[in-house]
Amino acid sequence: MHAINYEAPTTLDQAIDILKTHGENARPFCGGTDILIQLRAGVRRTGHLVDIKKIKELHALSFDAKKGLRLGAAVPCIEIHESDVMRRHYPGLTEAAHLIGSLQIQNRASVGGNLCNGSPAADTTPALIAVGARARIVGPTGEREVPVESFVVSPGRTVLRPGELLVELLIPAPAPHTSDAYLRFIPRNEMDIAVVGVGASVTLDGDKVKAARIGLGAVAPTPLLESKAAAGLVGKKLDDAALEAAGLAVSEICKPIDDMRGTIDFRVHIAAVLTRRVLTIAAERAKKA
């Protein structure tokens, strides 16, 4: 790897100052599980790694029944899986975080880093989209919030401007009878990159769907929020016909690539299958929520 500087600020202000000073020649550094590989491979270059793990604010993991969840950008995936609050209120996001790589990776990698890496196949991003997460970004000129579905702009690129830092993810508290789920297809049991990933959140009113959100991964250049299928479910029972229609609507917006992990036709087919399954799981959980 080429020479780099390393700084580990302890406050958000210091971090923004450092990021601002070095502009495009600096990158925030958290778990390192993507960036170090990319720097070694020469896929990315940077002069300064700014380690954000010593900033207290970035380790928030707090839930309030009214305000919802604050998930600091540096919280490692393993802490999500170990959190009772996460498993109870956001089981789908929790399972997505627990699918990433090995335990060694989950002990280091964060959901915030997974988002900032900007991969179309990131496991936690469709799950974040499904639960309506917003990214709180702080930079030299102030702060802004961006819905997670708008955060990644192309493979490996995000809305973050030089000097800006993802501080936390803000997720609404689930409405009554709401729950979520995430499924991905991989040809192995563990340790693989999603061929397709689908996250869904379902709110029930009796036996009918009151609201639904669907997030898709690895079927387009960026993770997607699907709205047609989700809107089509509102007011309906989640029966076979409704699930079939939702799967069909999802397959219509998929624009995947053909690669060694899956053909276009296969990915489109699997996206519909996973959509039906993930909606069913989320609805089952919502009945008990």
Binding site: M1, H2, A3, I4, N5, Y6, A8, G31, G32, T33, L36, I37, R40, L49, D51, I78, G101, S102, L103, Q104, I105, N107, R108, N189, E190, M191
Partner: protein, 166 residues
């Protein structure tokens, strides 16, 4: 490139060392501190041969910087034996012939130690899940899994739940 002074606890001892910011923890362990037990396999976090514990959590030391070790408590395979006496887990690896070329073994020992410290009664599925980040191209895994299950049974019968194995 200017070197940084890092102070960490490694296998129970306070250690100071100098490293460049670009150097991985694995590089600093092997090349600076001459702790060559942790192995370099893939350098991409896939194989787990470089697994060490950092503040009790298993990590791939190839995907962590040496400078990040500042103030941390690090455990490597060199620290598993006590005054030359192998841990229960290490002995079970020998008894079950759970190693051939041995490159993956330090990583498996650390991952399994981490599992047994948290869960002294794992199922076979739990053992396999906990070891999913460690690859072995020689043994076919069955003997490794058996060694971990045997070690768990031994440790339970000895009533020693903390030391994965001493």
């Amino acid at each position: 490139m200017k070197k940084t002074l890092v102070e960490a606890t490694i296998n129970g001892e306070t250690v100071e060392f100098l490293c460049e910011p670009r150097q991985s923890l694995l590089e600093t362990l092997r090349d600076v501190l001459e702790l060559t037990g942790s192995k370099e396999g893939c350098l991409t976090g896939d194989c787990g041969a470089c697994t060490v514990l950092v503040d009790g959590r298993s990590v791939c030391s190839c995907l962590m910087l040496g400078v990040e070790a500042q103030g941390k408590n690090i455990a490597t395979v060199e620290g598993l034996a006590t005054q030359g006496v192998l841990s229960v887990l290490q002995n079970k690896f020998l008894e079950n012939a759970s190693l051939q070329c041995g490159i993956c073994t330090p990583g498996f020992l650390i991952s399994a130690t981490s599992l047994l410290d948290r869960n002294p009664n794992p199922s076979e599925a739990e053992v396999r899940y906990a070891l999913a980040g460690n690859l072995c191209r020689c043994t076919g895994y069955d003997k490794i899994v058996k060694a971990v299950l045997d070690a768990a049974a031994d440790i339970r019968s000895q009533g020693d739940r903390t030391a994965a194995a001493r």
